[in-house]
């Protein structure tokens, strides 16, 4: 059993290293993709797209566009819920999707 287990563990080690390499490659590709100027310009959705993704569609849809590392805290006070947003890298944009 011992040599068989040794062989299995070394195969798993190889498989894990291969996955690590692919994850790093994929993360880099995704970052380059989203930072590309052309893609950045075309990386948008419309209000209608958002309305089609909520059920039921006639809800209030609030869109939050925040700078990186904005802190969002959701707390459960005595009545209802409180969400606080705090940005240290510029203003946060919040708007409601129009119903129509």
């Amino acid at each position: 059993r011992f040599p068989a287990l040794q062989r299995e563990v070394s195969e798993l080690t190889e498989a894990e290293e291969k996955l690590d390499e692919l994850i790093n490659k994929c993360s880099l590709q995704l970052r380059l993709l989203t930072e590309d100027t052309h893609n950045k310009k075309l990386g948008y959705v419309r209000c209608q797209d958002l309305r089609n993704t909520v059920n039921p569609p006639d809800q209030i849809i609030m869109v939050i566009r925040a700078p990186p590392e904005t802190q969002m805290q959701v707390s459960e006070p005595s009545e209802g819920y409180q969400i606080s947003l705090k940005s240290s890298k510029g203003p946060i944009d919040v708007f409601l999707c129009p119903e129509d």
Partner: protein
Amino acid sequence: AQECRNLELEKQKRLERIRQKRAQLEELILQQIAFKNLVQRNQASEALSQSTPPPGSVIQLPFIILNTDVRTVIDCSISSDKCEYLFNFDNTFEIHDDVEILKRMGMSLGLENGTCSPENLSVATSLVPKSLEAYVT
């Protein structure tokens, strides 16, 4: 026997880490496909309409959305520099990020829940580098 037990433990730990890393890699591949698909869709619709959408009529990534019942009362306080917001809700709500919205829009071609048609599978494999095609399939 003790050494065998140690190796068996090591093997279980590695199997769990490999499972988590596979899930992480699959999520990264889904996100790459969804983003490329969104860019292609917008490019095609702009080419069709021969115009770019008026500014303010589209929502640029990254964003998050919060949806709640239409009767929810939302009290909102905003600091003058718009760097701090405080919202009070008297009803439940949901928060989703742009990746989740793209998946719901079908931009990840149903790969996230195994409902990908053969045609969409070939579209999906065309959107990722050769080294990742096997993972898409």
